[in-house]
Amino acid sequence: MFPEEVLEHVFSFLTSHTDRNSVSLVCKTWYEMERWCRKRVFIGNCYAVNPKVIIKRFPEVKGVELKGKPHFADFNLVPEGWGGFVWPWVVEFAKGYPWLEEIRLKRMVVSDECLEIVAKSFSKFRVLVLESCDGFSTDGLASIASHCRNLRVLDLRECEVEELSGHWLSHFPDSFTSLEVLNIACLGSEVSFSALERLVARSPKLKTLRLNRTVPLEKLSTLLQRAPQLIDFGTGSYSAEIRSDVYSSLKDAFSSCKNLKSLSGFWDVTPAYLPVVHSVCSQLTSLNLSYASTQSPELTKIRLVVLDCIEDTGLNTVSMTCKDLRELVVFPSEPFVGDAEVQLTEQGLVSVSQGCSKLQSVLYFCRQMSNSALISISKNRPNLTCFRLCIIEPTVPDYLTLEPLDVGFGSIVENCKQLTRLSMSGLLTDRVFEYIGTHAKNLDMLSIAFAGDSDLGLHHVLSGCDSLRKLEIRDCPFGDKALLANASKLEKMRSLWMSSCLVSFGACKLLGQKMPGLNVEVIDERENLNSLPEYAPVE
């Protein structure tokens, strides 16, 4: 037996939550040791546990990460007022963790009152990351700005903020100089530019600055000149009249940013201004052009996010030039239109899979796919870990053979043995689930829509995917049988979402009764009819 000090020292090297959770299961001593030295706690489902329990078990926590609503909330499948309120957590933290430094929330409802409590309760507060959150206004941000003397990170990622005034930024006192990350890209209204400029000027440690769309291109160079140390920069609107003075000052400003690794923003691009970033392109690892409907980049990066305007030809260029590419995201410029004018097909993805040997993660929206393309992709890139394909029209078959895409996706799971995340689309029968159940042993998260024929499909997945923890299903003919037959599997998962399937209310009640470890929730506007989604998280 090691003395406690040694154990504690060893544990201090464990940062992954899964490792820490495993360690705490070894024996009572280790459980005790571990709980006293855990500094960061991750709760993947805010309804899985009571905050008091967390505080009691982990008294020395400095950072908390919480997730609320299910993933499909991003696509409006979760009704308003469903939940994910962080209030009860914040109230408990204020009591139990006075030295709390970091709060990271995803898909939670955060009120101004919550933000005020956060601002006033934690004297050492440093990091606030809100991703896909809503429920607060600029008043809440003003509280944070006013009171968090040591704030380093204020990161609002795709939040919905009620924007009452652009003045909240001025609430950072003049003595406040510790800011390292500021991401306000999701704000729609103007923020006070002079306050922003002064803030940037007095933040020598600022590494990430992501502006919102209302910051005009003409003012960009002013900001960049004040922060040449930036590593991650998001422009505002990238559109202006073409003027040589603006152009040259922008160009100089970018050139002086020697540490720039990531660029984003680029709303409303005036293509003539794009070359100013060429000087930094070679050092970029991440380029997000998902708001820019242009076709440009011949740029080397590790992570590329673009719109489908890049077309197959653009992706072909990417495949030839971006040899270090690890992640490719292609969003649709016109997601709700049936016929596309952009020439982006499965070919783009196939060429990238051929040319970019380090490609691991793909999110690709397109309008046609074939089994042969999927098979090629899987053979080109067996190192894929995340493959998310969305064919815009549901249940579209292989456009060449009119067969379902079972074989194609089957090839993906068979060849890409390290695949942890998969989203499928197109015409799919139970057979694809058979492949998945047989081969996708490392799959952690699976998203299915408009697929399958019967409960057999779901049964394959639940019984075969040993590592599956998150499953989200919509509009599939899966009913009670597979669910009930694999109920014990559900206990090992973090969450299951089923909407517009065939799960009956009775089955939900049954699951709830028989499996006390599960939270089973039914959301339906009707009283006692067929349930819509069933959200079954696990603790």
Partner: protein, 331 residues
């Protein structure tokens, strides 16, 4: 305006379907008997295609909810010999193979609850339509694929021109739903109303977002979808009300959803003026059934909970008011 209240007409009820632990038994007959359990609820909305009269408007789907797409038939030949025994491994047992059933679309234990509607269930006219290569079929897929020749039935279009009919598809998050709208704007900076430096009060700054919303007639509220059911059709749909700005637009969408493949050409406006055999009603906040079109659009938006396309003949109470209506002339 004149509010009409109509009682809901009772649907044909579907046979009781009980969900129990011991239900999986291949030898059972098809009428959904099974072993009754201790007071579990009935399940209204599972389909049994053979019992309902399939009018031309039926779509080949499984769920009573959203989608218009069809689920392909798993051909019998592919699953012959694939017998799945599902025991219920509740409590960590693992699958006890209590009984066997054939997981095909034809018949047997799996299908006590839901039978996959196959092409056989539909009149040949519909089937042959699917086999035609013309683009006038209900498929909205890229030009280089035709909708013919397979035993899979074709899909319906996902996106009618005036708003999506499938909630949450394609799965793009809010941040990425705007680009195409945004690119239509030329110079957003022109439209800022107030400058924050001048205005230190808490008045709301009108920003780009408001401009976009206003321009596109979208209310500031989030995406709002309500269910739509039509009498005689088992499958409901969902429509995003915020994507519509008027009753006419809504009627147009509903027409495309429900009447597109009908032999009888029902003009969209007829849904609203009461001259077709169908009438559009809605359930309001109080649970009352109201005729659509009486109140201003905004007021309608704030009180509508769900929509229903009712057969004119089904509602006896409606009839007298109906005649009044025809004479009255709706605006």
């Amino acid at each position: 305006f004149f509010l009409k209240k109509i009682t809901f007409v009772k649907h044909n009820t579907l046979p009781n379907m009980d969900v129990t632990l011991g239900l999986l038994n291949g030898g059972d007959d098809e009428d959904g008997g099974g072993v009754p359990s201790d007071g579990s609820t009935t399940n209204r909305s599972i389909l049994t295609g053979s019992k309902e009269d399939n009018n031309n408007n039926n779509m080949v789907v499984m769920s009573s909810e959203v989608t218009s797409s069809s689920y392909p038939v798993v051909g019998d030949e592919s699953l012959d010999g694939l017998e799945l025994g599902l025991g219920l491994g509740i409590g960590g047992g693992g699958g006890g193979l209590k009984s066997k059933m054939v997981a095909s679309g034809g018949g047997g234990g799996w299908n006590q609850y839901a039978r996959i509607l196959t092409a056989k269930d539909f009149p040949t006219s519909l089937v042959s339509k699917q086999n035609s290569c013309s683009s006038s079929s209900s498929v909205n897929i890229p030009n280089n694929s035709s909708s013919s020749g397979t035993k899979r039935t074709a899909t319906d279009s996902v996106s009618p021109p005036n708003g999506t009919s499938v909630v949450g598809w394609p799965p793009v998050s809010k941040a990425h739903r705007m680009p195409s709208l945004a690119s239509q704007l030329k110079s957003p900076t022109e439209n800022f109303v107030s400058k924050p430096e001048q205005n230190k009060s808490k008045n709301r700054t009108v920003g780009l977002k408001d401009y976009l919303d206003e321009r596109n007639g979208i209310s500031n509220k989030k995406y709002r979808s309500v269910k739509v059911n039509m009498d005689g059709t088992l499958i409901g749909r969902k429509v995003d009300l915020n994507a519509h700005t008027s009753y006419e637009m809504l009627a147009q969408t509903l027409h495309e959803m429900f009447f597109r493949s009908s032999a009888e050409a029902v003009k969209p406006s007829r849904l609203l003026d009461g001259t077709s055999e169908f009438v559009l009603t809605y359930e309001d906040k109080d649970g009352d059934c109201m005729l659509v079109g009486d109140v201003p659009w905004e007021m309608f938006l704030s009180s509508v909970k769900r929509l229903r396309i009712m057969k004119n003949s089904d509602s006896n109470e409606l009839a007298p008011r109906f005649e009044e209506n025809n004479q009255r002339h709706r605006d």
